[in-house]
């Protein structure tokens, strides 16, 4: 029954999608404005139908309806309800269904927010989103149909992949990633809409696109951080980033989207970089599809890759189509989009934005080359190779250091041109911050050149950043007699975009410090110890108390209890979870976080009689700063994209406020 509803909903959505796709060009050509309503109606219909399909899948999962192929594949009566629900995105077919649902949601939101906008941009954008929906609907009816009926109906299933039912972050990371990934379809659809409707010359579409990009970018940033956290908490190696092809796949569109968020400002302010921005938007979308292809085609092996059949060919065809469309759009319009703005001086904010884009693009190309090289080498030369972490680290560290430095310089410089005195006044004082944080890094014991450089540049950029708040707030204090907190708050709310960006920068600084300290200052030790014995690393000592085991409904758990000696006390219990479907246990490290760092314990092996345990103990400084910084980045994005209500905008006019006695009384 559930299978029938799901299959039916997807089948019925196809004609609606096709109708919507045809309606837009027909409406424009014939001048029949009312037909566009038809396209918008199709977008809504598609949303309701895919929602129905997704809900019927959730119902099938929860009620253990093993007649549905996807449930037979990932369901199990033993799996707790929570993990049963989130196994919706735990395997290929379900993840494609979830993807299609998120896409239909975005399309419906785009239409409902912008349906009153004049011109043909939004209709064409809706058409583009429907075209992408069509691709996913085809996948769902063909190679990735999760609703096939299974006969005879099995009594039980194997349950989700053990790695995916071992940690609560599995409920967070994938949806965030889909929201970020799929969200990049929206800027792409606006870009297509802008070109087709002839609005690409105005900067208005950039403004429209920017806020949607910030939203998707925030989801993607949060997803990347959550993925790092998941890897840290579940995989048991004490790291959070391995330059795994699939991690790279999520990072690539993030880099181009970040570049776009910056270069969009140059276009708005100075009417430059118009073709470039179009390229970035299109490139970001292509990279998300490429990422999905890498993840879902099984072409690379990784924790994330699902085994599959033919779906890879569908994706390759789709990527090729998107690339051709993109090339035609960008190349066919580059003449019309020539720069009208003029570049005034190398000492200006524009220069910094250009460099920022250059470095981010170079970063993206490095990661792309490193990720795709093994595929190319195997196809061309028939050799199996892998590109390891050293390559990525070596290539990215100088770029990261340079980008951090620019984050200090950019906000301090004015648009157009800065005088020599201005440069000196703006760029010299933050050097104190660089010296201070560089010294702190050295004092902490960092000896790695890039580690110290990152600390110093973060110090520089953070000092420059905080100085902007200080200067702005001080001006408000003097002019309006506001207290410091009020001045800072109103400073931010009066220019959300700017200060939202600065807040996001602050978050990046936390992340950078966390990564620099934890990757250069990590100390670890591995040993086999008996109960009663201790093991220590950089001043932190734990004592093994006992090994234990217990049976849970869907798994068996073997753990070790360690007493933490010295500060804090208490116990830590790293364990291994044995699932019936997996030969390998899933490690579950114990992490104790402090402001300055994490103590990380992982149970590596044990004697079945409980007489010894092999344990890895790691001390990693500043790791929690990465997670905290990720939160700050998202906060910055929220501040930057928060819609300024009309009423509020009026209230923020200072004269209006002073004339209102009630405001003072409150």
């Amino acid at each position: 029954m559930n299978g029938l509803i799901g299959r039916g909903a997807i089948m019925v959505s196809l004609p609606f999608i096709l109708l919507g796709i045809v309606a837009v060009p027909a409406a424009v050509r014939r001048g029949r404005r009312e037909w566009i309503g038809l396209a918008y109606g199709s977008v809504y219909a598609n949303f309701f139908l895919v929602t129905a399909a997704a809900l019927s899948m959730v119902v099938a999962l929860v009620t253990h309806d093993f007649s549905v192929s996807y449930v037979a594949q990932v369901g199990s009566r033993e799996t707790p309800l929570f993990y049963t629900i989130i196994s919706l995105w735990g395997a290929l077919e379900g993840s494609i269904l979830f993807w299609a649902w998120v896409l239909s949601l975005y399309a419906a939101l785009v239409v409902s927010f912008n349906r009153d906008r004049l011109g043909n941009l939004v209709p064409y954008a809706a058409m583009t989103l429907l075209c992408i929906s069509l691709f996913f609907a085809i996948l769902l009816t063909g190679p990735a149909n999760p609703f096939r009926s299974v006969f005879p109906v099995p009594a039980d299933g194997p349950g989700p992949n053990p790695l995916l039912q071992n940690h609560i972050l599995m409920a967070v990371h994938p949806p965030l990633l889909y929201l970020g990934y799929v969200g990049m379809s929206v800027p792409f659809s606006f870009a297509v809409g802008a070109v087709l409707s002839g609005e690409a010359e105005s900067n208005d579409w950039i403004r429209l696109t920017r806020n949607w990009t910030i939203g998707s970018w925030a989801f993607l940033s949060a997803a990347i951080i959550a993925g790092m956290w998941w890897s840290y908490e579940v995989l048991g190696w004490g790291g959070y980033w391995a330059w795994d092809p699939v991690e790279n796949a999520s990072f690539l569109p993030w880099l181009t989207a970040t570049a776009f968020l910056h270069s969009a400002m140059v276009q708005e302010r100075r009417s430059m970089l118009r073709v470039w921005n179009l390229n970035l938007v299109v490139g970001t979308f292509v990279l998300t599809i490429l990422g999905t292809f890498l993840t879902r085609s099984g072409i690379i092996s990784s924790v994330h890759a699902f085994t599959t059949g033919t779906i890879g060919y569908y994706f390759l065809t789709f990527i090729a189509l998107v690339m051709v469309v993109a090339l035609v759009l960008v190349a066919g319009n580059s003449d019309r989009l020539k720069t009208v703005g003029r570049f005034d001086s190398p000492a200006s904010r524009e220069t910094i934005f250009l460099l920022n884009n250059l470095f981010l693009t170079a970063f993206m190309l490095t990661v792309l080359v490193g990720t795709l090289f093994p595929l190319v080498a195997e196809a061309v030369r028939g050799v199996k190779v892998s590109v390891g972490g050293p390559f990525f680290n070596r290539m990215s560290l100088p770029l990261v250091a340079a980008l951090l430095f620019l984050m200090g310089v950019g906000p301090a410089l004015p648009w157009k041109s800065a005088s020599r005195d201005e440069l000196r006044a703006k760029l010299l004082p933050p050097a104190i911050g660089a010296a201070l944080l560089g010294a702190i890094g050295l004092f902490m014991g960092i000896r790695d050149v890039y580690g110290v450089l990152v600390f110093a540049f973060v110090g520089y950029a953070a000092a420059a950043n905080l100085r902007e708040y200080w200067i702005g707030a001080r001006a408000r204090r003097v002019a309006r007699h506001e207290s410091w907190p009020v001045a800072v708050g109103r400073l931010i709310s009066s220019n959300r975009r700017r200060y939202g960006g600065y807040i996001a920068h602050l978050g990046v600084f936390f992340v950078a410090l966390g990564i620099a300290a934890s990757s250069t200052m990590r100390t670890e030790r591995e040993a086999t110890i008996k109960p009663g014995e201790t093991i220590s690393v950089s001043g932190h000592t734990v004592r093994l108390q006992q090994l234990w085991g217990r049976d849970e409904k869907q798994r068996s758990v073997v753990g070790a209890t360690f007493a933490v000696l010295g500060s804090g006390g208490g116990t830590m219990e790293p364990h291994m979870n044995f699932y019936a479907t997996s030969q390998e246990p899933v490690p579950t490290p114990a992490v104790r976080s402090g402001v300055l760092g994490d103590l990380y314990l992982n149970l590596m092996a044990f004697r079945p009689d409980g007489s010894t345990a092999t344990v890895k103990i790691i001390y990693e400084p500043l790791v929690p700063w990465i997670w905290f910084g990720g939160g700050v980045v998202v906060l910055g994005a929220i501040v930057g994209a928060w819609p300024t209500a009309k009423r509020k905008r009026a209230a923020s006019i200072p004269m209006a406020r002073q004339l209102e006695p009630r405001d003072n009384a409150a």
Binding site: P158, S386, P390, T528, G549, Q583
Partner: protein
């Protein structure tokens, strides 16, 4: 277009070209040195001296009866085989809990001059498909004594 803007444009273009060239050089050099070949023992031995002391990923099966694991020194020695050739592997650190004879493994490291492969990273080749364990290799057998023993 004024003189200043033209010269600054030239400045920008020149700068971009220089940065792009440096970047391309680094990219090439970095890839050249950091590509790790994936080989079987047979292929590695066939490379002769060119296969010695370079980073390699070696894939094969754990030769039955070859595993020696010292849990005090954490030294793990075993032989990896592809059916035709064998290579002795030495690594430090605990093997995966389910490490056993005949399983597929990938070891990352260097083939040293003394004919032993120094492994820095030991990976078990996973298969996503479920296969019921054969008698004697069931994971339960390793932990069920512990569960009974602890009485919980």
């Amino acid at each position: 277009m004024t003189q200043t803007s033209r010269s600054s444009k030239r400045f920008i273009i020149a700068g971009a070209v220089v940065i792009a060239a440096v970047f391309a050089y680094l990219l090439y050099g970095g890839l050249d040195k950091n590509v790790v070949y994936f080989l079987t023992p047979h292929e590695l031995l066939a490379k002769g001296t060119r296969g010695v002391e370079v980073p390699v990923r070696l894939g094969g099966q754990v030769k039955p009866g070859s595993v020696k694991w010292n849990d005090t020194t954490l030294e793990l020695r075993f032989t990896i085989t592809d059916g035709t050739s064998d290579i002795a592997v030495h690594s430090t650190g605990a093997p995966p809990q389910m490490f056993r004879d005949g399983m597929g493994v990938v070891v990352e490291g260097r083939y040293a001059r003394n004919g032993v492969f120094d492994c820095t990273n030991l990976m078990v080749r996973h298969s996503n498909e479920y296969r019921p364990p054969k008698p004697g290799e069931s994971p339960q057998e390793t932990y069920k004594t512990l569960i009974k023993g602890s009485g919980s």
